[in-house]
Amino acid sequence: MDIATYKNDVWGREVLLGVSWDLLWLVCVIALVIVAAHAVYMAVQQKAERPSKEGKRMQRHEPVDRIMHWVMAISILALLFTGVLPIIGVEFAWLTLHWIAGLLLTAAVLFHIIRSVLQKDLMSVSIKPDDFKEPFDENQKPGKYSLAQKGMHAAVTVVTLLVIISGLFMFAMIDTPWWDRTNSLSESTLGWMFLVHGLTTLALIALIVFHLYFTLRPEKLFYLRSMIKGWISEDELSANHDPERWVPDESA
């Protein structure tokens, strides 16, 4: 199974064409096997008592952050559906929908970056050496975000930025309401853009499978609630987080 595909250019030279979409099925299978293995592992583990959702409510996500999260989620899913469905044989006019979703994601990510830098505590989501003690020490509880959550955020950040940057290069090569395409990039450069876009798409698919799985796990459902309603209970806070490392707003 190849990672990339190649074609001959106008001069007969071999040029990179993009990712080999045979990898799509491999990525899906690997991601689902990992999820299944984790589900089996968790099923045989002793289940801890779940903290109560009653009691005082602590704010975990502000409304604006929740809105941006769902805007990004919807745009990424729209990008995946419009980009991947034609590859697996579902035919429709996908390109315009795809770039509109791409622009929506780009705007949401830019907003998120600016807000994170100017108005939020960037350090709360950055991975620090101490965080690596969490998996091995039951007494080491995380601040606002666990190591797994920070790792997921870092991976999604890198992959999303790469998919956006490569997508913007490709966007410049098609007709839009604002410009006519120029075909100004060489085929080999375009090939690299398609390869990066394809590989990051595959990575995003795997990350989304993991994200959905962990979101829907029973012991993690309160995080999903917090991304919808904004709050977690005091009990959930003390059971999963270190109140000294994260002091949430109690006004939720």
Partner: protein
């Protein structure tokens, strides 16, 4: 790129029954090649620009040939030659639009062997693509025709999405104007597709020109009686009158009430990747009479929404004038 006088090494199947052809088409799918009259096929193969493993010759299947009465009009087998269509009296009298369109295809020699199905499903004629270059339509990442120096005089002014190739079929414009249904068969059964939906643009599927899936065979074209004997107009403008593709063509079917136009279907060829219905013209023409005044009143709408390339802006007035000529008394 080298071109060869001899055919490449390819497995040739010559089934006599449709079921056998469907089985072969299913077995080989994208590795197979359906052969009609061969007028689209042999260039590809001799240029070694396509590399099928198997060629499935449909010409020996009697069920795919001939012109038959159907419940509501006529049914034409996909392997019926263009010559047979041109000479068929029922088609001449009731569906003259199709015989006119078929008569405008290529040359007498090609019409003698070229089939209706082959003409309808033939591949794009963009020379960059036919040359075997890895353009968008060939699965690549670029279009050679839509560049500042690209040779795009014959290319699309509507509906381009990365690829700017046009539908080359003369019969397709007539088939869409006659509101035909395409009969498509596979080992899974039969489906019919409206001619207008049969042709697909690059926004939907950039490496195909029709909705035919691998393993499917276009077996017949059904033309409803709705437009039988109506007023027809077909005109094809090309650089020469024989053995050339359209620069712009028009096929029109009009239901007349005296001198007044009722329902109509105006379809232009060679301006988009699919035959282009001119719905705004159809709406504007309803209730008008056939006259120079009516023609002048609606003709300029034909090119609404066009996005010409560097070398094909002439197609806009050409389209408008063809509409004008179709609406003259």
């Amino acid at each position: 790129m080298a071109s060869f006088d001899v055919m490449p090494d390819v497995q040739l199947y010559q089934p006599a029954e449709l079921d056998d052809a469907l089985s072969l088409a299913d077995r080989y799918a994208t590795r197979g090649w359906l052969l009609g009259g061969g007028q689209d096929t042999y260039g590809w193969l001799k240029d070694r620009a396509k590399h099928p493993q198997a060629m499935i010759d449909l010409n020996g299947i009697e069920a795919l040939r001939g012109i038959r009465e159907s419940e509501d009009g006529i049914e034409i087998g996909a392997a019926t030659t263009l010559r047979d269509i041109i000479l068929d009296q029922r088609i001449i009298s009731d569906y003259g639009l199709l015989s006119d369109a078929a008569a405008s295809v290529a040359s007498p020699q090609i019409r003698n062997v070229g089939t209706l199905g082959g003409n309808l499903v033939q591949d794009a004629r963009c020379w960059y693509y036919r040359r075997g270059l890895s353009c968008y339509r060939a699965g690549g990442n670029t279009c050679y025709a839509d560049t500042p120096d690209g040779m795009n005089r014959e290319h699309a002014i509507f509906g381009a999405s990365r690829c700017v190739a046009v539908s080359p079929s003369d019969a397709a414009t007539a088939i869409v104007a006659l509101d035909a249904a395409m009969v498509v068969q596979s080992v899974d059964g039969e489906r019919t597709v409206a001619a207008e939906d049969f042709f697909v643009g690059p926004a939907t599927h950039i490496t195909r020109m029709t909705s035919l899936e691998p393993g499917e065979i276009l077996t017949a074209v059904r033309i409803p009686a709705k437009w039988a004997g109506k007023r027809f107009y077909f005109e094809k403008v090309a650089d020469r009158n024989v053995w050339d593709f359209a620069l712009v063509s028009i096929a029109v079917a009009m239901s007349m009430d005296g001198d007044t136009i009722g329902d109509s279907r105006f379809v232009c060829g060679a301006v988009a990747c699919t035959p282009r219905r001119l719905r705004n013209i159809e709406n504007a023409a309803r209730g008008k009479s056939l006259s120079d005044e009516s023609a002048d009143a609606v003709a300029s709408m034909a090119s609404d929404g066009a996005s010409p390339l560097n070398a094909n802006q002439y197609k806009l007035p050409l389209m408008e004038n063809l509409v004008r000529r179709a609406m003259r008394a």
